[in-house]
């Protein structure tokens, strides 16, 4: 009874006729959720595959969620993929993932004609449902799922230009879902707004906690997230109780003034994660809804959810918001650069171990070796190096500083600047490339070494063949030669100064 699929079995038995999922077009009950998932699993099990991963390429709707659970009922890990991903990048994922099944629908399949599917069986969602459920087979299969089995793989940006897949073991899900329930006690009358796309780890709190509680998961269309006023109208009309989002959505709402003219009597919980939430905008929310519980959550694809910090004391606009302490299913270490542990107030790199933590990336020994290392204090333990720098404040709470490496967070997206540089070098005429992040403005500046004339927008049109839209730079600086240090490494500080200089010249002109 350890596996996460038992959560759905339980919900379907307890609340068969309750709405489980509502998307923009359809609603399904918990009974339908289970039955559709079992049908999909039957189909997957009657085809002879090994226990290899199942790609889900379906978008933000109930089909994706029933396919997730269908894969799990068949005892296989699933891999959610963004349907807007450039084919070039998707191909790299397929090549490294080596899935055996790829679930999509007819329309989306049309958009994939340039993708090569060697040894991958493409299944159209609707056709998966044409079989009758084999109850005996499914019951047997799920009773044999082990805690250590992989539940899903989430792909994130990789510095070498190839995205890397973080693996979540099944036991990891149960661990944090139990923890979250002890904290929040959601019941089956709750409506949870599902804001984060399902190809991000963050969305799993919505996906699994709603099933755990027997709550309704309301899938919010992506297009509404960019429009503060209309999004709040929607949340009000749908009587949403709990929402979990990247800070940029909440910041956008606070800055727009949309909170002034609306009441949300059903709202009880607002949670956020993915980057640092500024207190200036959070205070606008807290003043507007003094009875709502606000929670700052920290996590990564490699570790799942780590800290849940309920915000209770007052913060000044200029204070930085703590992340609280790690949940009890994790062990946390802050290593200073000299390899010793940081004391209170001292900064160190956050490293983690525990049941929810992966121990490698999928088929990627090179990146795995860098991120998952033996704990210098305990050679029997593997720790994950988050690349995030943090310190413990005088309240014993974890607080984050800027990132250690070339991995940035923009509007909640985790991006390796190296992936953008690799993509740029695919474009004819680009000899070398360096991407620099201006954190304050949340803008990526791309420097390219080239003899050709390039300007930003037409360059981005070419770049979009290789990387998703959220990775496209806001500024392009073509140069005859980039700046290098004596050791041959790119001099990013000098490049950034060059950008500032050019900007000033444009201003003065």
């Amino acid at each position: 009874m350890n596996s996460a699929v038992w959560l759905l079995e339980r919900a379907a038995n307890k609340f068969p006729d309750k709405i489980a999922i509502e998307d923009i077009k359809y609603s399904i009950t918990y009974r339908e959720y289970r039955d559709l998932s079992r049908k999909i699993a039957t189909n997957l099990l009657t085809s002879k595959y090994d226990d290899c991963p199942v790609v889900i390429f379906l978008g933000k709707n109930y089909k994706t969620l029933t396919s997730f659970m269908g894969a799990r009922y068949s005892s296989r890990p699933y891999v959610p993929i963004d349907i807007n991903m450039p084919v070039y990048r998707l191909q790299k994922i397929i090549d490294s993932l080596k899935p055996c099944v790829f679930i999509t629908d007819k329309d989306l399949f049309e958009s994939l004609k340039d993708l090569s599917f060697d040894n991958v069986d493409v299944k159209i969602y609707e056709e998966l449902l044409s079989v009758e459920e084999d109850k005996e087979l499914i019951d047997k299969t799920i009773s044999e799922i082990k805690k250590e089995d992989n539940a899903y793989i989430i792909y994130t940006s990789g510095s070498t230009g190839i995205p890397k897949g973080a693996i979540r073991p099944d036991k990891g899900i149960k661990e944090w879902v139990d923890f979250v329930d002890k904290k929040y006690h959601f019941n089956s009358d709750i409506t949870i707004a599902s804001i984060t796309p399902f190809y991000y780890e963050m969305s799993n709190l919505d996906v699994y906690y709603s099933i755990y509680a027997g709550a309704k998961l309301l899938i919010v269309p992506d297009v509404l997230l960019m429009h503060a006023y209309q999004l709040l109208e929607y949340i009000k009309e749908k009587e949403v109780n709990s929402m979990f989002s990247v800070p940029s959505v909440l910041i956008n709402i606070a800055n727009s003034g949309a909170l002034n003219n609306i009441e949300l009597p059903h709202l009880t919980n607002v949670m956020f994660s993915g980057e640092i939430m500024p207190n200036r905008q959070l205070n606008i929310w807290r003043n507007k809804f003094p009875d709502v519980k606000f929670t700052n959550i920290y996590g990564t694809s490699e570790t799942s959810f780590i800290c849940f910090y309920d915000i209770e004391r007052e913060f000044q606009d200029s204070d930085s918001l703590p992340t609280g302490m790690c949940s009890d299913y994790l062990k946390m270490y802050l290593f200073k650069e000299d390899g010793t542990l940081a004391r209170i107030g001292e900064e160190g790199e956050l490293c983690l171990a525990g049941t929810t933590v992966s121990n490698k990336y999928w088929n990627n020994p090179e990146n795995s070796k860098k991120a998952f290392v033996v704990n210098p204090l305990n050679e029997k333990e593997i720790i994950y190096k988050t690349g995030d720098n943090a310190y413990i404040n005088e309240y014993g709470e974890l607080c984050f500083r800027t990132r250690k490496d070339f991995q940035i967070k923009k509007h909640g997206h985790r991006i390796e600047l190296g992936e953008i540089e690799h993509a740029a070098m695919n474009i004819d005429g680009v000899i070398n490339a360096a991407a620099v992040y201006e954190a304050e403005k949340e803008e990526i500046i791309l420097f390219i070494e080239t003899d050709k004339e390039f300007s930003l927008h037409p360059f981005n049109v070419k770049l979009r063949d290789y990387i998703p839209s959220f990775m496209l730079p806001s500024h392009l600086v073509p140069m005859k030669k980039l700046f290098y240090k004596a050791n041959g490494k790119m001099d990013r500080v000098k490049l950034k100064l060059e950008f500032d200089k050019r900007k000033q010249e444009v201003k003065n002109a």
């Binding site: 923009i24 960019m226 037409p458 839209s469």
Partner: protein
């Protein structure tokens, strides 16, 4: 559809994103968000602009029903709204 509507929208986006006059990729059917001409943070400003400039109100149904990612689609929504008001 009166071209004035489309011209206003196009000019607003050209100014906002500093699109160069010799940009041959830029056109009224281009997905502005996909190719980075606008980013997700710009979408509210675009809606504010059309609400103010054409004196209309954009509802959540408008956002959901119309794919406001190209100049043509934005212009179609604006003209429909103006027609319904008249």
């Amino acid at each position: 559809m009166p071209d004035k509507i489309k011209d206003d929208i196009r000019n607003y986006i050209i100014n906002k994103s500093k699109i160069q006059s010799n940009d041959t990729d830029f056109n009224d059917d281009l997905n502005l968000y996909k190719y980075g001409y606008l980013d997700s943070m710009d979408s509210m400003s675009v809606v504010f602009f059309i609400e103010e400039n054409f004196n209309i109100k954009i509802t959540k149904e408008d956002i959901l029903m119309h794919n406001l990612q190209t100049i043509n689609n934005i212009a179609i929504l604006v003209s429909e709204k103006l027609k319904n008001r008249a």
